[in-house]
């Protein structure tokens, strides 16, 4: 018997066995999904993919096809370990099929060849992707391609204690008018410092508890750079912008806050739970956080009258150069180059289904995030939630994202290191800015415009 004949025989035999069992037509996929920065309140980031798999299987069954999808989920509560895991797994060819990460990772990861552009697999003209907010789709795009589907949106409001404002002489009307004054630039960051200093002097809050910014590195600090007129990226050239004056003013603001005694010099690197506990206990005068913190405060830290306890607004302007602002940092579903093209296509379809307004609203409302698409306003769960609605109306229109740029991480690291140095007083503000400048110059060369 020739080799060919043998091969034909065995193929035929296999085909008969497969046909008899009916398994030949069952498509089986195992799709892995990894998500960073995901806690107890945001499990729908990965659970939505599982729900989508169930729907896709049912749709296939209706068409008379057999589709069997196993979703393997893994979440990380922080970002450091998650990004390390993704990048190292990608190097060894074992990255997950679906990655849920910050949109700023699109730049470096697409350059490294870790990602497939999701627009090659899904139709942004069709439901449910056609109702996504355009600005969020733009945030998920880089180099002329749409790489990801927005998973959530948020903004990072500024909060002040209503009770403590009243205790230093604010009337109820004045408290209600404060967000408007902040938005117009009438009430600045330095006015806030004066108010919280008064709170401390009058014994309303303890010393060093007047102003409680974010305890560690995060997108939030770019808001203060913007408050002093800083631009992260030059619109015309698309290059990163190192605005020396804005950075100096921003560092000076935090150094002044330390000098006034409203925030400790050793504040950065503190503990999140302590911070949440103090917010819930109304121990701070002013602070800033994320829209999603509301659900944490209510579920884990016992805040029962959120709207009665605190005001929320944009981050105030720092001086006449800047404006009140807030940053949105959408997470995106990304498809990796791991696995076959078919697996990528299934993964992308799951992502599209997971972006259905009803499914996404489960995540948005439970975790205090904002809608990714206009249709969510018609989903009762979302529409009837006071916080998501108010935050969507009052904050989201003024929110801007951080840039998608492969080099932004270097700028970010330098900005934060300089901030730490100025804040703790290990360097003067001027030295800290110079240090940050030399770090971006040596790291990025011509890739950044120094202003």
């Amino acid at each position: 018997m020739t080799i060919l004949a043998k091969a034909l025989r065995s193929t035929a035999a296999l085909a008969i066995v497969a046909a008899a069992s009916g398994a030949a037509f069952a498509e089986e996929y195992t799709i892995t999904v990894w998500s960073g920065g995901t806690g107890d309140d945001s499990h729908y980031r990965v659970d939505a993919i599982e729900m989508a798999a169930d729907l896709l299987e049912r749709e296939a069954a209706v068409r008379g096809e057999e589709l069997d999808i196993t979703v393997e989920k893994q979440v990380w509560s922080g970002w450091d370990d998650f990004k390390q895991a993704v990048t190292l797994a990608a190097e060894s060819g074992t990255a997950p099929n679906i990655i849920v990460s910050g949109h700023e990772d699109i730049g470096p990861w697409s350059q490294a060849g870790i990602l497939r552009p999701i627009e090659d697999y899904v139709d942004f003209d069709a439901w449910p992707l056609n109702q996504l907010y355009d600005n969020l789709v733009d945030v998920s795009s880089y180099d002329g391609l749409i790489w990801g589907v927005p998973q959530d949106a948020e903004s990072r409001p500024f909060f002040m204690s209503k009770a403590h404002l009243a205790e230093i002489g604010y009337s109820e009307d004045e408290i209600d008018a404060l967000p408007g004054k902040i938005q117009s630039g009438e009430y600045t960051l330095y006015d806030m410092l004066d108010d919280v200093k008064t709170m401390q002097d009058e014994g309303v809050v303890e010393a060093g508890m007047g102003f409680a910014p974010r305890v560690n590195n995060g997108t939030d600090y770019w808001q203060f750079y913007q408050s002093f007129g800083g631009e992260m990226v030059d619109e015309e050239t698309g290059k990163l912008v190192f605005d020396k004056q804005a950075l100096t003013d921003m560092y000076q603001f935090f150094a002044d806050a330390v000098e006034m005694g409203v925030t400790p010099a050793t504040y950065l690197g503190g503990d999140w739970d302590v911070w949440h506990g103090n917010v819930a206990a109304d121990a701070y005068g002013a602070w800033h956080g994320g829209t999603w913190h509301k659900s944490q405060w209510e579920r884990q830290f016992g805040v029962d009258d959120f709207f009665g306890q605190m005001t929320f607004s944009l981050i105030p302007a720092g001086n006449e150069n800047g404006e009140a602002n807030t940053i949105t940092h959408p997470l995106v579903y990304l498809i990796s180059t791991t696995g076959s093209d078919d697996e990528a296509a299934i993964s992308a379809e799951l992502v599209a289904i997971a972006s259905e307004p009803r499914i996404n609203s489960l995540h948005a409302v439970e975790s205090g995030h904002l809608a990714i698409g206009s249709a969510q306003a018609d989903v009762p769960l979302y529409a009837n939630d006071r916080w998501t609605t108010e935050a969507t109306e009052q904050l989201l229109p003024y929110a801007n994202p951080i840039p998608n740029n492969a080099d932004f991480g270097i700028f970010w690291d330098a900005m934060y290191q300089g901030l730490e140095a100025a804040w703790t007083g290990t360097s003067s503000v001027e030295d800290a800015v110079n240090q940050a400048q030399s770090a971006v110059e040596s790291g990025l060369g011509d890739g950044i415009i120094i202003r």
Partner: protein, 471 residues
């Protein structure tokens, strides 16, 4: 004498040789007497596992670190090599750097033409003939500015593929754009450029190709950056302080104190005492650091005690620079102290008791015994602990990472922790493998240099030379 000085490996060789015949053994002895090297294939075989481990866990990492440190590898360039990708951003940057706009635009052509050639390419790519027929009927001769508008037209045709992915694959042969295509080699990219922009000058083509490479390149920038950034000086100072304080106060100072204290204690209580001091070393590092958090945190043991005593009570681990330093030095020190304690205890037992008895007869106090008899005879163990522990502290970062994480405000950051953060773990996910490797290489070189200095300073040769008298 020869027998007493052979190493266990050599003894192994000889005993196995003896089982075969006495002749080779005699040869070996003779060879040794003549000063020739005594080697046997079996010896090499027995050494092989150790050599393999040494190569795998020391030489290979050092070689790789050296290679990485001379590259600009990051999470964006990847480790395993790059591709050639011409992107809209790249063309804009090139234009910004002075490339003629026409040259850049000639590469950015994204126009899609539905012509015979395109239909042939699509047929060759296996696109469904019915669908192709419809495209030919409806769209032949049409031009589209981008893929998206072409796909929108395709979606109106009845025989279109139902899966989005299949529709996109069917549309691909119609586009001749090279934008965002990953070419594996420079030649492939050059060919593609030549086909779409035949008039591009060789110089421009080379500029585009070099800029289009997404992978890493060789560079010495990492070392220049280390030499010029002010952060370097601060990290060196912090590292020196960390190693210096931990070593002098705890690894040697406390270790010595404990060993001498145990030496003078009754045997049973001494044993219990020394076991207690071993706890920090045998406790898993994560558990140990969590215990330190409970110990120093806001409502932890120390602040609560301090509050009751009317002393300043706050988060000692992160609340102030001096207490953060005290925390990292002592939590590392308590681990290291037990190492010194065990070594010094062993060395203390080797001191002839008669010397101590004689000193007591002469009326020496405990302090005089320690100063005149014990310390001079502990010189070697002290030097060994200093040498060994300073190298180990130099490269340690995990306890700092798990507690202060370099804070407050980067004030307790040390070289090894910064190298780890830069290369492998940071909030922005901007992992700079090349720069981090350069930092690690500096650490390896500093460690080797220190080893050589210690060996010279402490006259290691004298320590290991043959005894002057035979035992």
């Amino acid at each position: 004498m020869i027998v007493s000085n052979t190493t266990s490996a050599e003894r192994g060789i000889r005993s196995s040789a003896l089982t075969r015949s006495t002749e080779p053994a005699t040869d070996t002895v003779r060879a040794a007497r003549k000063g020739r090297a005594r080697t046997s294939p079996l010896g090499l075989v027995m050494l092989a596992p150790a050599l393999a481990l040494l190569v795998a866990f020391f030489f290979a990492p050092v070689v790789l670190t050296t290679i990485f440190s001379f590259t600009n590898m990051t999470s964006a360039t990847g480790i395993s090599g790059g591709a050639y990708v011409i992107t809209p951003n790249l063309l804009r940057d090139l234009e910004w750097q002075g490339m003629a706009p026409e040259a850049a635009q000639s590469l950015s052509g994204e126009t899609i033409s539905v012509d015979e050639a395109a239909l042939e390419r699509a047929a060759a790519a296996g696109v469904d003939p019915d669908f192709l027929e419809e495209i030919e009927d409806e769209l032949l001769g049409d031009e589209f500015d981008d893929a998206r508008s072409f796909e929108r037209e395709l979606k109106t045709l009845p025989s279109r593929p139902r899966r989005v992915r299949d529709l996109k694959l069917a549309a691909e042969p119609f586009s001749q754009s090279i934008l965002n295509t990953r070419f594996a080699t420079r030649d492939e990219a050059a060919t593609a450029i030549a086909s779409i922009a035949p008039d591009l000058s060789a110089e421009d083509r080379n500029t585009v190709l070099s800029a289009a490479y997404t992978g890493w390149v060789w560079t010495t920038d990492n070392f220049e950056r280390l030499a010029t950034t002010p952060e370097t000086a601060r990290l060196i100072t912090n590292t020196a302080l960390y190693v210096g304080f931990t070593l002098s106060l705890f690894n040697v100072g406390l270790g010595l104190f404990l060993a001498i204290a145990i030496f003078y204690m009754p045997k049973t209580s001494g044993t219990i005492f020394s076991v207690l001091w071993l706890l920090p070393r045998i406790t898993p590092v994560v558990l140990y650091t969590v215990m330190w958090k409970w110990f120093t945190w806001d409502d932890g043991f120390l602040p609560v005690v301090a509050e009751n005593l009317g002393l300043p009570a706050f988060n000692y681990m992160k609340g102030s620079v001096p207490t953060a330093w005290a925390t990292i030095v002592s939590l590392n020190g308590f681990i290291g102290a037990s190492f010194g304690m065990i070594l010094f205890s062993g060395a203390l037992r080797a001191i002839p008791q008669q010397q101590l008895w004689a000193s007591e007869v002469d009326g020496a106090s405990r302090w005089q015994q320690v100063r005149r008899i014990i310390l001079p005879q502990l010189r070697w163990p002290i030097l060994f602990v200093t040498c060994y522990q300073s190298l180990s502290l130099l490269s340690s970062y995990e306890q700092i990472w798990l507690t202060t994480n370099g804070g407050p405000g980067n004030t307790t950051n040390v070289w090894a922790l910064e190298a780890f953060r830069v290369a492998l773990s940071n909030y922005t996910g901007n992992l700079q493998y090349g720069y981090g490797a350069a930092m690690a290489l500096v650490l390896v070189v500093a460690g080797l240099a220190l080893s050589i200095i210690f060996l010279r300073l402490f006259r290691f040769n004298e320590l290991v030379e043959k005894p002057k008298i035979e035992f």
